[in-house]
Symmetry: none
Subunit: 197 residues, 4 copies
Amino acid sequence: MVRLQKSIDKRNALIKATIKLVNNNGFHAAPMSKIAKTASVSPATIYLYFEGKQDLVNKTYLEVKSSFTTYAFATYTKDVDIESGFKKIWYRIAEFKLKKCDEAMFLSQCDNTPMIDEDCRKEGIKHLQPLLDLWKKGKEEGIIMPLSDYVLYAYTINPLSFLMVAQKRGVFKLTKEQINAAYTAAWNSIKKNNKNK
Amino acid sequence: MVRLQKSIDKRNALIKATIKLVNNNGFHAAPMSKIAKTASVSPATIYLYFEGKQDLVNKTYLEVKSSFTTYAFATYTKDVDIESGFKKIWYRIAEFKLKKCDEAMFLSQCDNTPMIDEDCRKEGIKHLQPLLDLWKKGKEEGIIMPLSDYVLYAYTINPLSFLMVAQKRGVFKLTKEQINAAYTAAWNSIKKNNKNK
Amino acid sequence: MVRLQKSIDKRNALIKATIKLVNNNGFHAAPMSKIAKTASVSPATIYLYFEGKQDLVNKTYLEVKSSFTTYAFATYTKDVDIESGFKKIWYRIAEFKLKKCDEAMFLSQCDNTPMIDEDCRKEGIKHLQPLLDLWKKGKEEGIIMPLSDYVLYAYTINPLSFLMVAQKRGVFKLTKEQINAAYTAAWNSIKKNNKNK
Amino acid sequence: MVRLQKSIDKRNALIKATIKLVNNNGFHAAPMSKIAKTASVSPATIYLYFEGKQDLVNKTYLEVKSSFTTYAFATYTKDVDIESGFKKIWYRIAEFKLKKCDEAMFLSQCDNTPMIDEDCRKEGIKHLQPLLDLWKKGKEEGIIMPLSDYVLYAYTINPLSFLMVAQKRGVFKLTKEQINAAYTAAWNSIKKNNKNK
DNA sequence: CATGAATGAGGATTCATTCAT
DNA sequence: TATGAATGAATCCTCATTCAT
């Protein structure tokens, strides 16, 4: 029992070290030896918790992705109307990008890299289901445009990653106003807005 | 044939090889030796055309970015109204993402990686000026929402990258209809909503 | 056997391999890979014991230099008169050049090459202090000519290196008689000539 | 004729470049490409004048060695007594070490390195004959100690190299007084000094 | 469970040399 | 004669992984 506890600590330390190093200089600057050192652990120990580097990276991705979705849906309940539900989720995601900066950065680094297995990527998306359900309902009710989920995601959620990275690079500042404006843009892009014509 | 001049052909072959290999398996799977082999050239030859790997990657990025913007603005002229201009550019970019798939994929891999120098990145953005000018005018004329250029980019251009990558992964198909729908979403997200005029 | 400690044996083997290879064909013929092979070790292992090639070479130099001075002063005590002391040290050095031939050859290779860091070189000279003290006293007592230590070294110790290298090249043989003659030459060159007293 | 002239210029430029680069950072910092560049010549051109790097280095050595001995014996004539003759030669050599600093430095770098072929080395020593003849006569006349030529060289000429290198390193200054003192040391070390006892 | 030492395979880069002109 | 481009082999070094303890 006690040993098991200790183990989880080490596993977490390794995950954290991976995130930190990848964020600092990208995947190519996160060798196993450095990850081990950052986690105050022997290189050999990593292989007690993970099958290898690929596995470590994948597991880290899943962990962070799960943390992301948990955060996103923490305050969401199905019993609200489409726009309110969407708004709630969207703002939670925006909040995540701002508050859990390390994790958000890590996810964005994972976005377009072949470092993450395709299977693992699919696994990571599963937890997004509540949002997909919401969209489905929204489309059925004629409130949201009948677009593919990918398109909806591309126009509402993904821009937040782009803006967060821009902020991280120091070329842009995500103020409260900017976020509100971004929400409006997001909603406008997918809402069916010809009802009162 | 001609040996008195460093052959532009070899340089191009190296750039192309870099794009290809990075696209296939990411930066970490594009060693100089493989790049050389792919370009049918000796490893040492690379160093006649580029200062090192960093330089090769940077130059490749700039080359592709330039190709991208050239394509984007090829049919654009300033003398049209805001929406027409935007539409023209947007569709050219969409076309680029579809037709110049390799180059588009490469650019998306560059987006969130620290492999590209920050200076180089800034250099690459310069050529986007015509679009920024258009947006400026659009904002002044009250046609486009008064948003930061980063937000405008995040909501109109960046989603295309996301969708292109999704398509490349085989989880999504960018049909003509999808593109038209995407355009509508893009425009809706940034146009000034004048329904209650 | 024991693996919990970096084995001093391996370090020594590496130092020895370096000496051997440099002696055989000079610095330029002692690549890390060959040093590793000669020491029956993986190339990567070298980097557990040394920071890089520069460090390996420097450390080897210091090691040998230290071995040299230890040998030189092993039988020397301050309580003898100047000439006896000098003679003792001189003969020990001569003995070193003959018996520890590998080390002596290595040191002579280091003499005029920029492969050794200047700092490291200075460090190596420190241990020569007893001889310098002896000289100082000898000069004060009017027994040794009032020459710079560099000149004293050039005329008494350095010739031994020259002769040893010549012997190694096979063009000359350092017999006992030659050594005695060399000692006389050395002492004559620095002793205060008191013939006309 | 004109072409031949030009050729000699290039050959000389190459020799000079070799000396310069080797002096600056040792043999390992004098790649063919740099030598070519320093001599304002194409790398390929080197191979028109020399068989390869080994040959270039050897020929450079011989050239410099020849320049050295020429200088050393320029003012020497056989018709003087032993000590005067020796003194003349010795001071010329000292002058060479000071005035032709580049060449002297180069020679000292060649001293203990296996970069120079043994055959080539022997060839270089040949021109020293006048000094060896002088010594022979001196020994026969009972003026110089009956020592091997190597020992005589080690105690009279070689120290000058040592001192010159020390000066080059900045740890020692070869003033006129030092040189005179050095000469005395040199002569004392080999002269048969018990004649008037 | 945990470790530090050890490693072979592979990475970027340089070099002496050659080739086509 | 002279060249700049081109290169395969070799160099230093790093990395993911394993092993003996």
